[in-house]
């Protein structure tokens, strides 16, 4: 009975893992992290994805602090457009208008000039025209909208607001465009509202995608939410929005992949330095006809984000210290289009539960037939190796992540129980023999010549 209970403990652990979203469970995350970062083959280096980073060098060269001015962003998108990229995914939300204090002052001056009648004189008219041109150039939001429209391939960032009180102004339904035709209830990431860039920028861009990550309680990001549910609507992530922009003919297929594992599959990790990087400083300062820049950016999908020190652009991945958040969107896109998605919920979670049950039951059956504790231990070891091998093979070749620990716990507990039972049985047999010998003691041999 105790052996059966030990097996049930392992099965219960697998059940808990299944109903809480699938593997890796709470106690196997560290093991999963090590396995996925060291044992599974990394995502091969991509040839057509490039990170355009706002790094320390870019900030130093521009002489600006983060966030960059809208005028600088406008220059950056124009410079990127000159290289004719396939798409530009931006890990930034321009949710507030740029500063307009100087523009307000200039407009006041313009108004005063007109009211005074000076604008009617030739010199005054020239001054008004010059001032209007300067104000036009200084309107960062307008210039950024123009550059986004000229680029024609820009996907802006958005944010799914998951807190009761958010720091970003929410948008009304439909403000991000058309929601995706997907069921919303089963998605892992659900939000109250969604926030995005200001309306002129959204209008000028090709679309928007959410930048949210699913961060586990230990601070590690293991899943990427390709879709997010907001008040009955489904909105795409930056990776999915970019993929839809790049491959509109694969719309249905991309949506099918994006909904794997409730819309947030486990991620395959990239090899170190898998994403080529170009500093924004180089994009802005290099000659637009530069062959090097052309080779680096033309026809590529550019991911634009901040990587400068201390700008909160870092995210922790399994087995790694930290990577810029924008990189996660890039290899999420790569995983999506290559269908390198790992799943652990639904049928996979059920398969994990069944596999654990089979391992536990087979071991229980073998335990009864084994004559020695050594044979039981070897059987447990064999089943453990088979289980680990099966879990590793399914993860590496099929992207199925089954729970590893529950079956091992079940095997270990059953082995302990079996060992204890056998030890107890052995002790009982020894006691019986001892009592037998006490009841029927043998006479000690008497040496010759001695009398009793």
């Amino acid at each position: 009975m105790w052996r059966g209970l030990a097996g049930v403990v392992g099965l219960a652990l697998a059940g808990v893992t299944a109903v809480t979203g699938g593997a890796p469970g709470l106690f196997e995350r560290a093991l999963y992290d090590q396995a996925v970062s060291r044992l599974l083959p990394g995502v091969p280096r991509s040839a057509d994805l490039v990170l355009v980073e706002v790094d320390d060098r870019a900030l130093s060269a521009l002489g600006e602090r983060w966030p960059l001015s809208r005028a600088t962003w406008a220059r950056a998108f124009r410079a990127m457009a000159a290289q004719r990229p396939a798409a530009v995914a931006v890990d930034v939300v321009f949710d507030q208008p740029g500063s307009r204090d100087a523009l307000e002052l200039g407009e006041d001056v313009l108004g005063a000039l007109r009211d005074s009648g000076l604008a009617d004189q030739p010199a005054g008219a020239a001054l008004v025209a010059d001032l209007e041109a300067r104000l036009h150039a200084q309107d960062g939001d307008a210039r950024l909208a123009e550059s986004l429209a000229e680029n024609g391939t820009v996907i802006l960032g958005a944010a799914a607001l998951t807190e009761d009180v958010s720091m970003m102004p929410p948008l009304v339904d439909g403000a991000l465009g058309s929601p995706l035709p997907l069921p919303v209830d089963s998605l892992r990431l659900q939000a109250l509202e969604v926030a995005g860039s200001i309306a002129p920028l959204r209008m000028a861009a090709q679309g928007s995608g959410t930048l949210n990550m699913l961060v586990d309680s230990d601070g590690v990001i293991r899943r990427y939410p390709y879709v997010v549910g907001v008040d009955g609507h489904v909105w795409p992530s930056l990776a999915l929005a970019t993929a839809l922009r790049l491959m509109p003919e694969q719309f249905e297929s991309l949506l099918r992949r994006a909904t794997v594992d409730d819309g947030a599959p486990l991620m395959r990790l990239p090899a170190p330095d898998w994403l080529p990087r170009v500093s924004l400083a180089d994009v802005l300062q290099a000659d637009p006809r530069s062959v090097g820049l052309d080779l680096a950016l033309r026809g590529k999908t550019l991911f634009v984000g901040v990587t400068a020190t201390g700008l909160h652009g870092q995210s922790t991945l399994p087995g790694q210290v930290a990577v810029p958040g924008v990189e996660i969107h890039a290899f999420a896109l790569d995983n999506l289009r290559a269908e390198r998605l790992m799943r652990s919920s639904g049928l996979v979670a059920l398969a994990g539960l069944l596999e654990t049950a089979v391992v536990v039951l087979l071991f229980g059956w073998r335990c009864r037939r084994a004559r020695t504790l050594r044979a039981v231990a070897l059987t447990a070891l064999g089943f453990g190796v088979l289980h680990v091998g099966l879990v590793g093979w399914l993860a590496a070749d099929f992207g199925w992540v089954l729970p590893l620990i529950p079956a091992c716990v079940g095997l270990g507990l059953m082995l302990l129980v079996d060992s204890a039972a056998r030890t107890e049985e052995l002790g009982r047999q020894r006691g019986a023999l001892r009592r037998l010998f006490v009841r029927y003691p043998q006479a000690a041999p008497v040496p010759p010549g001695e009398s009793r």
Binding site: P97, A142, A199
Partner: protein, 391 residues
């Protein structure tokens, strides 16, 4: 954390109110809304043409009356074949010039030409940016007729759907107008005709805690409040009383003589005055006459049972009928374009158990009936039925 149930509050200073038709229906754009930074038009705006120019001029007039909007962007979304050689940008700039010639400052208008959505015809789109000087506390969700707002009664300017409202602003509806406001905490306030409301403090804190204080200076408002966290305050003040939400569904009426009337539909509500306070449980009502303490709660009238019509199309105005409610002196008949009775609602008083729909109410309408007793207490609303009048 304690969460309150949605509740309903009605201040009815006037009797029969008629909700005017949407004034935007007749404009050159087929309707005009300022929503979340986008200028939403009633129809797609052709890239060029007299109709486009007329609509853009109408937009310019609307922009001039909205000082909070500091810049506008015109986008010409044209098919690739029509965008070649800067043609798309030229179309957008021409549209921007129309706005400028109609009075919008040139420094506040910009033009862009993003690619069109594949398969869709070319069109113009407009977006705007508002001044971020102060966070808005409310937004006009629906409006019909002349509605205006401003910091003072002498500085009221016309407002429309999508416009933002700020703390301390007055919001006014004309005699044949109505509007619905969405507050920052997602509560909704329906302002009926000839009303004047001041938006007091609306603060949002952590754990859904909110403080909302509205001051009704004239007319009628009907409010659906969002759930609030523990410690939340939601008050509507009139000259003589303060109604504070304590988590329920209820109505309050403020009368012209300074008295107030409370009808609690669900839960419990406090009605406070200078001479005392009374808690009114669900299904009961109370009132405060000027200079007096709140009266003891009394039962509310039950919901009328509707006789018909339950639906269907009619070529002549149908006769709406319901059964008598004991204690009812009159009945309030409400007709709305939508089942939530959010906007474009017409309200009529009926003495008997029938009401003939006016001939001008063509199209689909939803209707419901509320009983009113001799002291003006409004009872529970009936079920909602609909009819479609197609002469």
């Amino acid at each position: 954390m304690t969460r309150t149930l949605p509740w309903l509050m009605v201040f009815a200073l006037s009797g029969s109110q008629a909700w005017a038709q949407d004034a935007a229906q007749g404009d050159a754009c087929g309707g005009l809304r300022f929503v979340n930074g986008r200028v939403e038009l009633g129809r797609k705006l052709e890239p060029k043409g007299p109709a486009t120019e007329a609509c853009l001029k109408h937009v310019a007039e609307a922009l001039a009356s909205r000082p909070a909007i500091r810049s506008v962007t015109v986008a010409a979304r044209l098919p690739d074949a029509e965008r070649l050689d800067g043609q798309g940008l030229a179309v957008a700039k021409a549209a921007a010039d129309v706005l400028v010639s109609a009075g919008v400052a040139r420094t506040r208008v910009s033009a862009v030409a993003p690619p069109a959505v594949p398969g869709e015809p070319g069109q113009l789109q407009l977006a705007y940016v508002e001044r971020p000087a102060q966070p808005r506390v409310a937004q006009v969700r629906a409006a019909s007729g002349d509605v205006s707002a401003g910091p003072g009664s002498d500085s009221l300017r016309p407002r429309g759907v999508g416009d933002s409202l700020y703390t301390g602003e007055l919001f006014q509806t004309s005699k044949d107008a109505s509007a619905e406001l969405e507050l920052a905490d997602t509560s909704r306030v329906r302002v009926t005709a000839d009303s004047l409301l001041r938006l007091g403090a609306i603060e949002l804190g952590a754990n859904s805690k909110r403080v909302v204080r509205l001051e009704l200076m004239r007319g009628t408002v009907e409010t659906v409040a969002a759930p609030g966290g523990e410690g939340s305050v939601f008050e509507v003040r009139t000259r003589g009383a303060v109604a504070g939400v304590r988590g329920t569904q209820f109505r309050v009426s403020a009368q012209e003589d300074g008295g107030s009337r409370l009808e609690t539909l669900e839960g419990k509500v406090a009605l406070g005055a200078d001479l005392g306070e009374v808690e009114v449980a669900g299904g009961h009502g109370s009132r405060v006459l000027p200079g007096a303490a709140p009266e003891a709660p009394r039962p509310l009238l039950t919901a009328p049972l509707l006789n018909g019509p339950r639906g269907g199309s009619f070529t002549t105005p149908p006769k709406l009928e319901w059964f008598t409610v004991a204690g009812a002196k009159t009945y309030r008949v409400e007709l709305g374009r939508t089942a939530d009775f959010a906007a474009s609602v017409r309200t009529y008083d009926a003495q008997g158990q029938a009401f003939t729909v006016p001939t001008d109410l063509t199209g689909k309408w939803f209707w419901r009936v509320l009983p009113v007793d001799a002291d003006g207490f409004i009872g529970f609303p009936s079920k909602i039925f609909a009819f479609d009048l197609r002469p």
